[in-house]
Amino acid sequence: MAVIENNVGAYPVSPHANRGGLKAGQNRIGLLLLLPAAVAFAAVILYPFLSALGLSLFEYTVEMMEPRFIGFENFYKIASDPDVWAAFWTTAIYVALTTTGTLAAGLGWALIMNQPFAGRAVLRSMSLLPWVLPSTVSAFIWGWIFNSRYGVLNAFLMELGLIDYPQAWLSTPEGAMLAVVLTKIWLSIPLFMSFFLAGLQNLDKEQIDAARVDGAGNWAVLRDHILPHLRPVLMIVVVLGVIGNLQQFDTIYALTGGGPVRATTVLSVEVYRRAFEQWDIGFASAVGVLWVAALLPPAFLYLRMLVKGN
């Protein structure tokens, strides 16, 4: 649908590529129309980004009036700081669990919602709700479910006989991680589902009918037709999911504050704490630079997919 045309060369690739006016005067208007967005972009996105990259080379704490250039010293400090390494490790676990979890549940739910049955339309609309709720609200909901004294999770598990006494989920490293991961999976399922449903729309039904005539069962149809068809969407969803999960802050901060101790301190929480609780701006920026480095591979993949137009 939306393909970024490749027409940088002198000879347009597609007969449509150069339509829409090429006259110099018109292009000046085009630039003029872009100007306001470009200025806003430069001021609140590009400049802060470059400035943060630059600050990683400075010592800049709350006591200092002016930042002082110290080269790569912040990075040397990071190299010997076990807390930062732990944050990287925690982030890796968080991203892996949330991405795979959402992928499985989102794909499953999209396949279910693609099947005609009574009440599907209502269910489909309602399943988008977690996505639009404010992050604080999502954190409240899951914090209440996981509550150690009155939480429904404890009551439920005790009813089933899986635990003998209430667990203080959010006070244990594993329990807190489980809570933040489930929260993120829950609120990402709608987006993943939407992508998959959009991909399923143009699935060739005749091909599947033909396969059925040849005796293919449900699993064979899923394995040989539906999943291969969804492959490009799957790639996009995984890449976007990784990018989003790497950046997640709000629900984690509201639910656990990065704790207990540092069990759910992912990079976003680490950078926030260093910058806005300890006011060690230089160090926080340096951690942020490594954070960006972690985002580069999925970002590159995403852009490549966009340029290719799938």
Binding site: L34, P36, A38, A40, P48, F49
Partner: protein, 278 residues
Amino acid sequence: MFDLSSRQAKIVFFAALAVIGFFLFFPLYWLVISSLKANAELYRVVPTPFPTMPSLEHFIRALTAGKLPMYLMNSLITSTCSAALVTLLALYAGFSFAKYRYFGRQPVMLFMLSAQMFPFGLLLISIYPLMSEMNLLDTRPGLILSYIVFALPVSTYMLYSYFTQVPDELIDAARADGASDLRIFHTIVIPISIPPIVTVFLYSFMWSWNDLLYSMTLIVSDEKRTIGPGLLLTYLNEVNSDWGGAMAASLIASAPIVAAFMFLQRYFIQGVTAGAVK
């Protein structure tokens, strides 16, 4: 897609439906149910599956006793302004990318889009001193400007994808009649683009409405605080946790965005998944 005529297929299908459906909907159900329970029923080790004596006390208290109405009003102001600002900027930029061919167009667009990948938390480190220098710290305009970060890149791309589908003939014909490009855009293109414009507005509104990080950092005074940090500070702080109040306030704070979304979800889904799926 699946053939559910066999009993086994039916069982697998509806079991999966039940498991994922329960995971998706039970938390929402629990939010609503808990908000309707009076404290005596709410704080029980074995919770009741639905309120035996439904009570609106938490809602009444949230709307009358606390600062929730003020936070809601603040969120409404900042989110509306920032959504309007983002939509306006994205509108012209998207049209420019879609219908003009100037040097550097594609790289600039890709670069803007890739900015989605700059971590918001990292940008905040430099936005904070920037706002401080311009005396915009702890002000609504400062927060509104900062919210551009969230939605401008994707909004621009969403509108760009839409505008590429507007036939060039339409624009060329108007040009032949002597209309200026700006006039063509305002009187011909914008009127046929209302659904995507509304989508983009809602998309950026949602980002601002749901934000916690930026508001929590850039706003200090209580009277300008938005719902994200407002809810957090009011209902779950070191001194007390008022879960019933938190649930009721959550529902109130979610209502506007959910209502808007329900009306416009079809456009919304199309817009957000545009570009990713052929």
